[in-house]
């Protein structure tokens, strides 16, 4: 999965779980400060992202991933095996 594919999947997840228009989303978009997503949506997105991308996102990492770009970067690194352990 490359950067563009990860971004596309995140846009789809934001539309599905947060009712966010994918057109509004770029890598600079912040989940809470820009999109006003609440904590329940973020918890759900984190768990579903782990399942869909097959990567582990530890809680202490999840708290720091506050923009779309930060998540894309983390998932990309994790898939390349540079951080964290892979999924099941």
């Amino acid at each position: 999965m490359n950067r563009a594919e990860i971004l596309a999947e995140l846009r789809a997840m934001l539309a599905e779980f947060g009712d966010v228009d994918p057109e509004q989303v770029d890598e600079q978009t912040a989940f809470i400060a820009d999109l006003a997503l609440d904590s329940l949506v973020l918890v759900r997105m984190t768990v579903v992202a782990e399942e869909r991308f097959g990567v582990r996102i530890p809680d202490e990492v999840a708290w720091e991933l506050d923009t779309v770009g930060a998540v894309v970067g983390y998932v990309e690194e994790a898939l390349a095996g540079r951080v964290g352990a892979g999924g099941e």
Partner: protein, 609 residues
């Protein structure tokens, strides 16, 4: 053993492993049962924990329990009760960014010497504890060890501790006045507040809950039918999760299937799957849980809950659905009942209730089979403190009738008792009311020792506003400034402190909840500017900075309103006044230099990116 422990163990002896607790999870959208213990197995495990604790800790030692959702937590909690050690359930960082900060506050406040967890969390908790630099060392031990060859390494070991066979050990004799556990309420982050619950409190509340919710004939059914089951997903470190979800089934001889709160939030359908698969006869949650289910169905994979399309979902087994622990909203009850009707949910099974940790759990409740009481009241009259039923008024949900407690409505300023139909503060008295807050005589005196103007007391002041009407309690709001969003209790002080320290240009401020045009609560922060420190930036840029900081620190979306110096109303002694700020924002708009709040007509105010 104490009367409470005898009462609980009696059920375990009577029913052995014919009754059970099971935890479920969602794997690729399917429900999977991941663990199960029969009553007798649970008792055996609790006895092993109790014997082990009695061996290595002094009587009354405080033990912090930091476990993920599951049966090990419950067995260890019971083991603490058995051995007269005081359990303090606390969340792991999974659900709360400030969990470790909170836990640190609890360790200091309660002088905790031992933290118990499981093998997957122990290493991280162990190194966190070592880094706290406390003079007396606090240890972290995993109780779920399986390594039989020297798995008892105490520091940072991965095998965990294998608890020895308890042999003939039996639970300690304890008075009912002994402390059972300490329930920390959310308190502001800087000041954790531990409610000291005695064996008497817990036993009394468990019996009161059973008596209120389950009429005698329903209870008889439960005793005779080994298949009757409850279903839930509440966190065990919360009073409703601990007492209402985990302990209550033992009281009523029922089974329980539950999942972790995170599993429910991530896979809301799991709740419905648990109810359907196990033919649950009751479930329980705060309002936000039902609301979350509704929101997730709206835009989720399921666009139609037609039974033909979803043959696995069938809720016609449910005989009551309890809603409690936060304000019960009539619109949510109606919407959930409507949405779930095609798969068998009936609106007359709603069982609203009211309670708080200071009263162990439940104060008022609705019996299985009696249905909810929803009444319309005149909105203007309510604002003046009078409940006047009227056909086209605002719908309020009755939270049921007192459960073994005396409920009074009292004028919060004069302490005069008020008659039915008058809004005042809810005061409560009875054997479920805790002794007070740990190490906090001032707060204990303020909250637990209230006396009415005519000399009646002591009562617990709940801080909630409400009225009694035909024996039902209606809760209308909070006397305190607490903000409640998605089941989180947020103290405005926490928001204000972060905002004030964001930038040299941020002065005093006030945070509060304000409903938007659609009735959804949103959090608003009115922030004073220090123009000299603005250094050429715009007020909007400052608002942006504050919004981002609050999002990062508290995971909250806050609408920021920037005003000039001395624009936030204060008392004569200079204390900011939140409710007056809110009222003035609504009436005059406060003449802001910048405001995130869009025109009131827009139902979804959002900050511009």
């Amino acid at each position: 053993m104490s009367e409470l422990v005898r009462f609980l163990r009696e059920k375990m002896w009577l029913f052995g492993d014919t009754r059970w607790y099971a935890r479920a999870d969602s794997v690729r959208g399917e429900l999977v049962e991941v663990e199960r213990l029969g009553y007798a197995q649970l008792d055996a495990r609790a006895r092993a924990v109790g014997a082990w604790l009695a061996e290595r800790t002094p009587p009354g030692a405080r033990v912090l329990l930091m476990y993920p959702a599951g049966l090990e937590f419950f067995a260890v909690f019971l083991g603490c009760l058995y051995s007269g050690r005081v359990a303090i359930p606390a969340p792991l960082p999974a659900t709360d960014r400030r969990a470790l900060e909170r836990a640190e506050g609890i360790i200091r406040d309660a002088d905790v010497g031992l933290v118990l967890s499981d093998t997957s969390h122990q290493p991280r908790l162990g190194s966190w504890l070592a880094g706290l630099g406390r003079t007396s060392r606090t240890e972290c031990i995993a109780t779920d060890g399986t390594d039989r060859n020297g798995g008892t390494d105490r520091n940072g070991g991965t095998g965990g501790t294998v608890l020895p066979d308890p042999g003939a050990w039996s639970p300690l004799a304890l008075e009912l006045s002994a402390t059972a556990y300490i329930q920390y309420t959310s308190g502001s982050t800087s000041e954790p507040r531990g409610v000291v619950i005695t064996h008497r409190n817990l036993l009394h509340n468990l019996l009161a809950i059973r008596e209120k919710l389950l009429p005698e004939d329903v209870l008889d059914e439960l005793r005779l039918d080994p298949s009757q089951c409850g279903a839930g997903w509440l966190p065990h470190y919360h009073d409703m999760g601990l007492v209402g979800m985990l302990l209550s089934p033992l009281t009523s001889c029922g089974n329980l299937v539950f999942c972790s709160p995170v599993s429910f939030i991530a896979h809301p359908l799991l709740w419905l799957q648990m109810i359907s698969r196990y033919r649950a006869f009751y479930t329980l949650a705060p309002n936000f849980g039902y609301d979350w289910l509704l929101r997730s169905l709206k835009d989720g994979q399921l666009t139609d809950l037609d039974p033909d399309l979803n043959p696995d979902l069938n809720l016609d087994c449910l005989r009551f659905a309890l809603s409690g622990a936060e304000p019960v909203r009539a619109d949510v009850l109606n919407a959930v009942a409507r949405r779930l009707a095609p798969i068998g949910f009936r609106p007359d099974i709603w069982a609203p209730s009211y309670g708080l940790a200071e009263a162990t759990l439940m104060v008022t409740g609705t019996s299985c089979g009696s249905g909810p009481t929803v009444t319309r009241f005149d909105r203007d009259a309510l604002e003046t403190g009078r409940a006047a039923p009227t056909p086209d008024g605002v719908a309020l949900v009755g939270c049921g009738r007192p459960t073994g407690a005396e409920v009074r409505i009292v004028d919060p300023t004069t302490s005069s008792p008020l008659p039915d139909g008058q809004v005042g503060e809810v005061w409560v008295r009875g054997d479920s009311i805790a002794d007070g807050y740990l190490n906090d005589p001032h707060a204990t005196a303020d909250h637990f020792c209230a006396v009415t103007a005519d000399g009646d007391g002591p009562y617990l002041r709940t801080g909630d506003l409400g009225f009694l009407q035909d024996g039902e309690l209606y809760v209308t709001g909070r006397a305190k400034d607490l903000i409640i969003v998605n089941g989180r209790n947020i103290h405005p002080q926490d928001i204000e402190r972060i905002s004030e320290t964001t930038d040299p240009a941020t002065g005093p401020c006030a945070a509060f909840a304000l409903p938007d045009a659609s009735g959804q609560e949103q959090i608003v922060l009115v922030q004073e500017l220090r123009p000299l420190h603005l250094s050429g930036r715009t007020p909007a840029a400052l608002a942006d900075l504050i919004r981002k900081r609050l999002a990062q620190e508290l995971r909250l979306a806050v609408q920021v309103v920037i005003v000039g110096p001395m624009s936030v109303p204060r008392t004569t002694s200079g204390k900011i006044q939140r409710s007056r700020t809110r009222d003035e924002l609504r009436s005059t708009g406060l003449d802001p230099l910048h405001s995130d709040l869009l025109a009131p007509a827009d139902p979804t105010p959002r900050p511009s990116p």
